[in-house]
């Protein structure tokens, strides 16, 4: 039973990391129609900036210092995302394939620059010591860092919900995901919402980057690739443009992957990928997605 709980919760912890990447991807695609392959670079930028902040504090950080590193990393990633959107994406307005291709180019460049400056080896991310302790949940010993990931993901989900529900920009984003041409036809410059969505997506990915570095026992430009692929898988299964859908799908996939890996190492990736194919062939719009106009 304890094993069951352990695998379940670590699966949810992993799902939390996937969600941090996927939420931005989902809104960017849902609102703008852009397949953002540069999202992994936002993760990496956040990870490196957060690492730089954290390493100034010494080998070990206190919780407030760690949170500061996460926030600064997120902010840096968000600003970088905004830069990419303004410099490149807006110039290719409505040319969706070209937009996707340009983001591929960005991901290559960022990977090369960071890899060139810092090398591809893992560098330990300074964390509070208590991350390494185990918390007893129903007999299972859960590593404390998983709780941090889950809490962050829940905060993001709630924050996202609040933004979409209670602010004007949130209203514009929700309407735009459904029908961005009509939003324009109501006299609203929907492209301003694009920048917001890119920034927020970048921020979430940056925060995710810091947490992923903790989970992966180090910061490296090479880690982002797998998370980007999983991010896309989560977005597609959850439904493009639906953040709750991404949350649900992320949790599911995290748990399924952990269970599959428990039974046979390596089975996890395989099962997830087959699940993706199955979902796409049966319900192409995903769990909570809508068939786009």
């Amino acid at each position: 039973m304890e094993t069951f709980i352990l695998i379940g919760i670590t699966g949810i912890g992993l799902g939390a990391l996937y969600f941090l990447i996927a939420s931005g991807l989902s809104l960017i695609y849902g609102l703008m129609g852009v397949l953002n392959f540069a999202h992994g670079s936002f993760l990496t930028v956040g990870a490196f900036v957060g690492f730089w902040v954290a390493s100034k504090m010494g080998f070990e950080t206190s919780m407030p210092e760690f949170i500061l590193a996460m926030l600064v990393g997120g902010l840096a990633a968000g600003l970088f995302a905004l830069l990419i959107e303004q410099l490149l994406i807006t110039r290719l307005y409505e040319r969706h394939i070209d937009q996707a291709l340009v983001t591929v180019g960005v991901s290559l460049v960022v990977g090369a620059v960071l890899g060139g400056w810092f090398g591809n080896d893992l560098r330990m991310f300074p964390t509070p010591m208590w991350f390494l302790t185990a918390i007893d949940v129903g007999g299972a010993k859960i590593p404390a860092d998983r709780i941090v990931y889950i809490t962050t993901a829940i905060l993001l989900l709630v924050g996202n919900w609040a933004l979409l529900k209670f602010t004007r920009i949130g209203l514009i984003i929700r309407a735009g995901v459904e029908n961005r041409n009509m939003v324009n036809a109501l006299g609203i410059n929907v492209r301003r919402a694009f920048s917001t969505v890119f920034f927020l997506g970048g921020f979430a990915a940056g925060v995710g980057g810091v947490l992923v570095s903790v989970y992966s026992n180090g910061v490296s430009p090479l880690i982002a690739g797998t998370y980007l692929i999983y991010g896309f898988i989560v977005v597609v299964i959850g439904g493009m443009g639906s953040v709750p859908g991404s949350f649900l799908a992320a949790m599911m996939i995290g748990v399924i992957r952990q269970f599959a890996n428990y039974y046979a190492t390596g089975l996890g990736d395989f099962v997830v990928v087959i699940l993706l194919a199955v979902v796409l062939l049966i319900r192409p719009q995903g769990l909570l997605g809508k068939v786009r106009a």
Binding site: L171, L186, K290
Partner: protein
């Protein structure tokens, strides 16, 4: 005095040349009906005015050239649009649909006016728009066009697919509005057109073939020739 002057408007959609030099005027504070058989380019003309399709030629709003201007700026300049398929946001509530459309904070009076025209929107304010009936959705679509100070209303087939009782309701709402504002109305329902139009423009195959008063609508032979329908309402 013309609120809108359209001159030599050409619109191409994916290589198909739909509008071939459309030219007509929309007099201010009057209702102009844009008529024609299905597929002649009436909806495309409205979309061309709004910049939803790129076009060449000239479209002037109160003397100001708006061709090539981004859609949202054209709308902000004072042109409101009620599209053919309503295109309300089905995942938002009625109130959210209206709030989205309202461009100014001082909109208490505007909201009061539309709730007077469409009381049901007030009672159903928190209902999700996707669950509304066709007629109610049409009310939302028209209401949100009335929320801001507009120079011109572009309305595309507001009574399409509505039950006769709703057609009457929409028609009376439109005639109330017609007295105070400039309207360019695409409509197949000739009874409605006869009731509120001051000015008629007929299109055929992407061109304007008639501009004038609504008197001819009473002549069944003219109606049959121009619009390919019998003289009564559809």
């Amino acid at each position: 005095m013309n609120a809108l002057r359209i001159s030599d408007l050409h619109v191409k959609i994916n290589e198909s040349h739909i509008l071939h030099g459309v030219t007509f005027d929309v007099p201010a504070h009057k209702v102009t009906a844009l008529l024609g058989r299905n597929g002649v380019g009436k909806s495309t003309t409205l979309k061309g005015i709004l910049g939803l399709y790129p076009g060449t030629g000239s479209v002037q709003l109160n003397g100001r050239e708006i061709i090539g201007v981004p859609t949202f700026k054209i709308v902000q300049a004072g042109i409101a649009y009620v599209p053919e398929d309503r295109e309300i946001f089905s995942s938002l509530s009625v109130r959210e649909n209206l709030a989205l459309a309202s461009r100014s904070k001082e909109n208490g009076a505007a909201f009061a006016t539309i709730f007077e025209l469409f009381p049901e929107l007030d009672t159903r304010a928190t209902q999700i728009a996707g669950s509304l009936s066709g007629g109610q959705q049409q009310m939302v679509a028209i209401a949100r066009a009335l929320l801001n100070k507009n120079e011109v209303l572009l309305i595309d087939e507001p009574t399409k697919g509505l039950a006769p009782k709703l057609v009457t309701e929409v028609a009376s709402a439109l005639s109330k509005v017609a007295n105070e504002t400039t309207m360019l109305l695409v409509e197949q329902n000739l009874a409605l057109v006869k009731r509120i139009a001051h000015h008629v423009v007929v299109m055929d195959q992407g061109r304007v073939v008639f501009q004038g008063g609504p008197e001819n609508l009473n002549d069944p032979a003219w109606v049959h020739q121009m619009l390919g329908v019998s003289g009564g309402h559809k």
